[in-house]
Symmetry: C2
Subunit: 393 residues, 2 copies
């Protein structure tokens, strides 16, 4: 186990109807709130009314900014920063999924940052302060309600970049599993894939002596897969949504990765797909993850045997570890297939013509930078990334 | 899963030599520190010198108070409060195990509480403020470095009472597994039993639909047992201490119990042993836990089958669930035995003459209060507690 430094101070208020406490809980922290959200769904569903009623009952003033799209745009972030500054907003309340929360975090940083917010993402500027962010989660997937991470897309530059800082950990997150009942099946599938990937990115490591975090990762992955299949058949199952909702948080609260070298190659490769094609992050990950596994497993076959046995339930002769691993990967592909997810880039509408460009962007080569290999378990250079894209074309 | 409200803001700095960062890390939070500890071990080992050098290098002033004993006494707490008030202390640095940390938390509360601190414990007074507490952990066991709990003994009243408040969560905890190398074998055994009990108290529940937290509990328990046996033979094994050190924190950071009804009967029954006989908390738990299991398992046999299979690795015919459960309990007893722990109260020097008195104290009957049953999985009244004491006499 490696040395580590862990602090996840976010408060989680979890259960039926908890979003109605938003006003009372946020009252000590804010005078004027930016209510940030995506489309009009939250108005149709009554969620907007519930939350604004709660804010009003607490005597909290608010302004609103909707319109966050999947792969949230820096252009809207800039608009949000301007609005907050002119209105004197002191807390951002994100009502939505990862995109809305990530956009809220960018706005929260931008309000206290001198200069254009995109610099922070592109130049990895150190930022230690931001307005407080609270979240009402409507899509369990990104884990942004628990993390200090934010991923923003610059549509002019076709760049999708992540930024992480302790200052971005939400103050409080309200997680009401009943709010997930109306998610369409493809969003359920994309969401569980994203949270599984957050665990895989931490799980697959060359760090040894990691019994505790291995076991925690395995428990979270098994819980997600079991309950995702329940939801695929019964999207109003409250108990299954509780498991998925809490799992998404635990997956990305960083506890599972402490003391381990993490990987993050699949996320890096996927961001390039989303930057150009605007595919859902989870859909891209479901295609790339098994391909990545097939490409890298021989570099640490014991880690992949553990994955196959402890998570995918493979048994049989351990004298052929390749067969164990490949059966584990096949079972993962079967799971994604049962969830209705695509198995190839072409099914996502992504053609080979951009593979080389994306591989070079993912590793920085396209920007004339020194090549930055992806991954921890196996270093992936641009030719490796290209090979993986081709493997799942 | 039940609704929950979770917030564990403590920062954990984990790894070799991290206690030497204490001064630099605490500098923004304090001007004058109370260094609170137990015996002279920390002076002999050089730990005291390392920490005081770090404080001095950061320009931090400090006073010290040693002498904390196992089952920390309210008399020393009162002395600490007086000292802090007269010296203008603004942060308590606990250097020790659970007793030192619990004593520090009591002092931290007492500095800002009007009235005698014992009232808070005996009358469960609501307390929302305390001086910040930092910890340098020297015994992984109690989980107090992660929790908002503090257990204090009133030696005049022979009462050992716990108190929990968010205000008592440490600001920061330094966990250096190398500091555990010199622990004697009985302290290792007591410590792992205590952290296992923190998981058991959360694991055994009648709450259903708890896949995630079930799996997390099982992972922590298996990690602890595997690595405790390594340490029993090789107490300088750094990797095993990393697993135990992180497990002790995760066991008591409350994440594992969220959404579940918790039990805590074994802790309640054990506190009475420690209050009168001053036995080590873990040693008492190792005796009581299997007895409690045998007494209650029929009330939720499926939960105990899960324990036997998923944690203790029992397999065989599920047509005889009692046999599965009893084999699981026997394996747990075997584990405690391998760790050198006593299997009966008489081995701990506790005779039957106090059983009824302890059973009545544990349930409040001895104080003329309305009887307060212990436990969540099965309600235990004083006769039940007496029966369990007799079962493990």
């Amino acid at each position: 186990m490696r040395n580590f430094d862990y602090c996840a101070p976010t408060r989680f208020i979890f259960g039926r109807g908890v979003e109605k406490e938003a006003g009372a809980v946020l009252k000590p922290y804010a005078k004027k709130i930016l209510l940030h959200f995506g489309g009009q769904n939250i108005k149709r569903s009554g969620l907007y009314d519930d939350i604004t009623a709660s804010l009003k009952a607490a005597g909290l003033d608010f302004v609103e900014l909707g319109g966050v799209a999947p792969n949230p745009r820096v252009s809207l972030v800039r608009k949000g920063i301007e609005l907050c500054k002119s209105e004197g907003v002191d807390l951002i309340l994100a009502v939505g999924g990862g995109s809305v929360i990530d956009s809220s975090k960018a706005i929260a940083m931008g309000c206290l940052y001198e200069g254009d917010i995109w610099e922070v993402y592109e130049e990895s500027k150190p930022v230690s302060k931001a307005l407080p962010v609270a979240t009402v989660l409507t899509i369990p997937a990104a884990g942004s309600e628990a993390s200090g991470a934010s991923v923003i897309t610059n549509e002019e530059k076709s760049m999708k970049l992540g930024y992480t800082s302790q200052a971005l950990r939400p103050l409080v997150s309200f997680v009401d599993p009943e709010l997930f009942f109306t998610l369409p099946k493809n969003q359920i599938a994309n969401g569980v894939t994203d949270m599984m990937s957050h665990v895989f990115e931490r799980y697959f490591t060359n760090t040894v002596h990691t019994d505790l975090t291995d076991g925690l990762c395995e428990a979270v992955l098994k819980t997600i897969m079991k309950n995702a299949l329940i939801l695929a058949g019964d999207p109003h199952n409250y108990d299954a949504w509780c498991e998925i909702g809490y799992s998404g948080t635990v997956a990305h609260i960083d506890m599972l990765g402490m003391g381990r070298e993490e990987d993050w190659a699949c996320h890096g490769m996927e961001h390039e797909l989303s930057a150009i094609y605007d595919v859902a992050h989870g859909a891209g990950l479901a295609v790339l993850t098994p391909g990545w596994m097939r490409y890298v497993y021989k570099d640490n076959i014991n880690m992949f045997v553990q994955f196959a046995v402890n998570i995918m339930g493979v048994s049989g002769s351990f004298r052929d570890p390749d067969a164990i691993v490949l059966e584990g990967i096949t079972r993962l592909e079967d799971f994604f297939s049962k969830m209705g997810l695509a198995a190839s880039l072409s099914e996502l509408g992504i053609g080979e013509e951009t593979f080389e460009q994306m591989a070079k962007k993912a590793t920085g080569v396209a920007y004339g930078m020194e090549e930055q290999a992806l991954g921890g378990l196996k270093k992936l250079y641009w030719q490796d990334v290209l090979a993986i894209y081709k493997l799942v074309k």
